[in-house]
């Protein structure tokens, strides 16, 4: 064994090298913990979270044209689009829209398929529910979005 090795062994050099790293990281500058319920993290703009059905901001009518493309694109078949034909305008109109969040994997294929950007995955990520039926969102819920409780501490 060479002299350097014996020195390292007796004076525990390897141990102190490691400890130096640990203590360097004690610096409060390096704190990365997020205080989650108190401070909500800002998620990225493209985040794929809770779905939303967009309304036209001018007249409040839904943008969805009930084309059913999102339901066809979804691998999990969890979107059900209900529509009926308006006799006056001879166009299909959206009546119901159900979205089963409990089976959704937030892959974004439905969003990509929508031709009019009516369906969108938004930045809301607090989707927990106390019951299974609570995970099935209807049209009203999709248009209004979830209202998670804000906690203060």
């Amino acid at each position: 064994m060479s002299g350097g090795k014996i020195f390292r062994k007796i004076f525990l050099v390897d141990l102190f090298q490691g400890l130096a790293v640990t203590f360097r990281n004690q610096n409060p500058k390096y704190i990365v913990t997020e205080q989650y319920p108190a401070e909500r993290p800002k998620v990225a703009e493209r985040y794929r979270g809770a779905p939303r059905l967009n309304n036209n901001p001018d007249n409040g009518e839904t943008l969805c044209i009930a084309c059913n493309l999102c339901a066809l694109a979804c691998p999990e078949n969890l979107i059900v689009v209900g529509s009926e034909r308006n006799e006056q305008t001879r166009r299909k109109e959206l009546t119901t829209f159900t979205y089963d969040l409990s089976r959704c994997m937030f892959c974004g294929l439905c969003e990509d398929a929508c031709p009019v950007d009516a369906l969108e995955l938004t930045q809301d990520f607090e989707l927990a529910s106390y019951s299974r039926p609570g995970m099935i969102w209807d049209r009203q819920m999709l248009e209004e979005g979830p209202r998670p409780k804000q906690y203060k501490c």
Binding site: G18, R46, Y47, A73, C74, M105, G108
Partner: protein, 370 residues
Amino acid sequence: MPDSTFLDSTELVLNMGPQHPSTHGVLRVILKLDGEKILGTDCVIGYLHRGVEKIAENRTWAQFNPYVDRMDYVASVSNGLGYCLAVEKLLNMEAPPRAQVVRVILTELNRIASHLVWLGTHALDIGAITPVFYCFREREEALNIFEKYCGARLTTHAFRIGGLQYDTYEGFEQDVKAFCDMFPPKVDEYEALLTGNRIWKGRLTNVGVLTADECKEYGVTGPLLRAAGVKWDLRKAQPYSGYEKYDFEIPIRQNGDTFDRYIVRMQEMRQAVRIIRQAVENIPEGPIMGKVAKVIKPPVGEAYVSIEAPKGELGYYVVSDGSTQPYRVRVRPPSFVNLQALDRMVRGGLVADIVAVIGTLDIVLGEVDR
């Protein structure tokens, strides 16, 4: 004196898992022990079986894409790349150059993220608690880039058949470059914590040795093979997605023990940074999506594409009967094949070594069971 007492029975059968923190998921290993010595092992897998290959037969080609992320969930970008390349081969097309470069950047970032999970948990199993916090801190930076790029952190669904769905966001290059500058000093930190540490060395050196011949017998690939001295990396051997354009080295070591595999993976992270640096310097302009029909209907035929995932050779064998749905998708997951070598690596060793060996195999049970 009775004829035989419990003292005569020297062999003990012990179940490790499926609920065991060091099996990295739901792996059950039946151990046959003679005191502390392992006489043999038997793996019971399948607790996480979801029938992914069967699901593929009931989905369209594009719809199956998000499911592959859920096999090796710590390296979901690599999985997506393998599947997309396989279907593109079937369609006889290639992604545009810009898409290929972005794919390389994200896949290499994912390699770093995957190796960081391995390093953190492996060190945790051996008893070093500190590295896991640092590893996850740096992994977070990589995941943030994924989140900004495609909107998801773990099961990214980043690539589409034929190219990309999302273009790079504003500031993508800066973020990636910042990561490349930030990361190598952190690897030095991990090495300062572990490489010289005598407990770490003592627990890893000459544990779970797998020679080059044994690796080839079992079909073991990835860092395990390279630590045994075989210079085999699919990124060099059969380049895909433009890897031939980048200048990088394949780190190898000779002993094939757990310590060498640790060194190889650490070097791989540094090499990944090198590749990312080169790629991000010149991302070509141009389209991100090739010419693919809205409804993908590949011609009748079959294709096999394998890529170098963080854990080894990840292969996709896809068969098309000309319809909108795959006829068959078969996955060759690296973890599943590498796990076979477990018995050879621990037999004759001590029971404490099995934790080190499972850690060094770097298995993900989602991929083993599929």
